[in-house]
């Protein structure tokens, strides 16, 4: 039981600190520095997992990277041809392309502004971090400029559905992250003062998390239907026109965010509660003696004490949000009018409906790189725990 806390703290620092821990775990245990033949016995413990890891993780990642440079049709085995960057050109390019400075300028300005802290981090950062950050700088810079390209008169994107679904995925990330992280934090702060009830309340808010995505959609697709679900009653109370949010291009995405909030907020709540319990209670006592009000206490003690947890939760939340698929695929199939079509649905349909596995792999690599990139940027931009 005692180990829980230290393990938990170490777990939080993944994946950034894994090298450090690798070194640390290498130290204890055996007493010998040089290995002798009996050390090979360790591989007996490792082999089962290593085989599974190599087969179902390492090989697929390498293979997906390779396939992203191929025209690879699943059914037509004659279509297995190396085509270089053609798949990526299909994603990011079109006909009659022109470049204009003002296209998507708020987003591009934001991207270019992010270069400043990234550069600063690169200059003062340690050597092992440098390649990752330089990579981030490079990609952010390229996209800051690249997004100015668009099809001009009479032109079109080679795959406009890619941009649509990528944009919707980003929209979901941007909408859901503050809502789900914020609600999780607010609930954790409220529950943390709940006394004896904490355990019960935590369980109640966490319960939806154990439901499968198909149960979530079963409940919410009908809940949100004004003729069938309870949401219709609220509509009656407020005299609002009953609309089916999932059928509205404006409201479909907020509805998905709402359902996802209900489903997963318990996960963030649990992490935040654990983080709050690590804060030294003496700090609060000292603050109340000094006559600090609730707001001052929150900003000067709770927030600094939670920095590490906030960073972890935000990074994880963004990663999960990028991977959104089941909720929309079951509830709306990406509709109405593609308003909720997300990247994984696009990958899934290109790969397993049209059997264009090469192109689908290329898109899955782009998703992977986007997730890694956003995580790096967040690790640089979000406050560090050692600032406090």
């Amino acid at each position: 039981m005692v180990e829980t806390d230290s393990a938990h703290v170490q777990a939080e620092s993944a994946p950034k600190d894994d090298q450090g821990r690798g070194r640390k775990t290498a130290r204890p245990g055996g007493s010998k520095e040089r290995f002798n033949p009996t050390d090979l016995g360790a591989f007996g413990f490792l082999i089962p997992f290593l085989i599974a890891y190599a087969l179902f993780m390492l090989y697929p990642v390498i293979q997906a990277t390779v396939m992203s440079f191929y025209d690879w049709d699943f059914l037509d085995t004659t279509r297995r041809e190396f085509i270089g960057l053609e798949n990526f050109r299909r994603m990011f390019w079109g006909t009659e392309m022109t470049w204009s400075a003002e296209r998507l300028w708020p987003l591009r300005l934001l991207l270019l502004l992010m270069l400043v802290p990234l550069f600063r981090a690169m200059r003062k950062g340690s050597i092992p971090k440098a390649p990752a950050i330089s990579f981030a700088v490079l990609v952010v810079a390229i996209f800051g400029v690249w997004l100015g390209f668009h099809p001009g008169e009479g032109g079109r994107w080679f795959d406009s559905q890619f941009w649509l679904s990528f944009g919707n995925t980003l929209l979901f990330v941007v909408m859901s992250t503050p809502v789900i992280v914020g609600t999780g934090l607010a609930l954790a702060l409220a529950l943390n003062r709940g006394g004896r009830m904490v355990g019960v309340l935590r369980a109640m808010f966490f319960a939806p998390y154990v439901l499968s995505v198909a149960v979530l959609t079963l409940i919410w697709a009908f809940m949100l239907n004004p003729g069938i679900g309870l949401v219709g009653i609220f509509g009656d109370w407020f005299g609002a026109d009953p609309i089916n949010m999932l059928n509205s291009t404006t409201w479909a995405m907020p509805a998905i965010v709402l359902a996802t909030l209900w489903w997963t907020v318990g996960f963030n709540l649990v992490l935040f509660l654990a983080g709050l319990q690590d804060i030294d209670t003496q700090q609060y006592e000292a603050a109340s003696i000094d006559g600090a009000n609730a707001w001052q206490t929150f900003w000067n003690i709770t927030v600094p004490g939670l920095k590490r947890t906030i960073r972890l939760v935000v990074v994880l939340q963004v990663i999960y949000s990028f991977q959104i698929f089941g909720q929309v695929f079951i509830m709306t199939r990406g509709g109405p009018d593609g308003a909720t079509r997300v990247l994984i649905q696009h990958i899934f349909e290109r790969g397993f409906r049209d059997f264009e596995l090469g192109y689908a792999s290329a898109m899955s690599i782009v998703l992977f790189v986007a997730i890694i990139l956003v995580s790096i940027v967040q690790f640089v931009l979000l406050p560090k725990e050692d600032d406090a």
Partner: protein, 300 residues
């Protein structure tokens, strides 16, 4: 009760002393309990959607066609649950999910405990390279691997089999990460004593380390079971025959067909049965599941 009273007499109620002890006590009791009560009400509201699913599953379909905006069934029936096992393949899907989730969990526990022990406690060549390589796998989303995985399982003819459904998750390094962290935290004296007695690595692992790891293994096991039971993308790709659907993909497939909602109760009953094993497990193993999350910070 008595503690509250003495609290009031000795403690913070002093400032309100002039308004009278009784009133002060009441205010204090209210102040102390009001947040909990409000939160409890919010939590109850939070669970209404879940409650609604249970209510509808116990209501006759004819009533639901007229009015489904209810919190309590006006009339209770078990027809819907009986129909689950008479009509369609839900029973079969339930069985598939049980087999797949149990197999994944057992294999993950077995592989992770051994690999975690080796990484945390044993010396061997290339350890400093292997561990980061394994842990790097934590960052790779499932979606990056599912196309090559599809081809591998196709080559071996393993699609639409249980093995095809449970094998891919065994390679996920989250369990190894959790177990390595756990074993690394155990003090070295424990095994040194055993080494002096001449116990083999295997015996130290089985008779000393494994029993100590029971709490961590329970947490990992529950967590893995929940994640596997709820897996959607891989079963959707790999098991395309209706007989081989899991509860999750099966229930998802019904939602398209039942769109007219003429059998809302029957559909909700299937939702209840799909959730019941996990909800029961959650109620029993709540602590372990939540610890699994804290340990791994892993997720869906």
């Amino acid at each position: 009760m008595s503690t509250t009273i003495s609290d009031t007499e000795t403690g913070a109620a002093k400032s309100q002393a002039e308004t009278g002890a009784v009133r002060a006590r009441r205010t204090r009791l209210f102040k102390k309990n009001a947040p909990s009560v409000i939160l409890f009400v919010i939590a109850l509201v939070w669970l209404i959607p879940l409650w609604w699913m249970f209510s509808l599953s116990l209501t006759p379909n004819e009533i639901l066609q007229r009015d489904s905006q209810i919190l309590l069934p006006p009339e209770i029936t078990f027809e819907n649950f009986i129909s689950v096992f008479q009509v369609g393949l839900s029973g079969r899907w339930f069985f598939n999910s049980m087999v797949v989730a149990t197999s994944t969990t057992l294999l993950t526990l077995f592989f992770s405990a051994m690999a975690g022990y080796a990484f945390a406690r044993l010396q061997f060549p290339f350890k400093k390279i292997l561990f980061p390589v394994v842990i790097a796998g934590l960052m790779v989303p499932q979606e990056t691997m599912f196309i090559p995985l599809f081809l591998i399982f196709d080559a071996f003819g393993l699609h639409n089999t249980h093995a095809g459904l449970f094998l891919p998750r065994v390679g996920v390094p989250l369990g190894v990460f959790i177990m390595t962290t756990f074993f690394a935290a155990i003090p070295g004296e424990v095994e040194e004593a055993a080494q002096i007695d001449g116990a083999s690595q295997w015996r130290i692992f089985r008779q000393i380390m494994l029993p100590m790891a029971t709490p961590a293994l329970t947490a990992l096991g529950i967590f893995t079971f929940v994640l596997t039971w709820n897996d959607y993308l891989w079963p959707l790709v790999s098991a395309t025959e209706r007989e081989m659907f899991t509860v999750t993909t099966g229930l998802a497939s019904l939602q398209g067909n039942f769109a007219q909602a003429t059998e809302l109760g029957a559909l909700m009953a299937r939702g209840v049965l799909a959730s019941l094993p996990l909800l029961i497990m959650f109620i029993i193993f709540q602590r372990q599941l939540i610890r699994g999350i804290s340990l791994g910070s892993g997720g869906k």
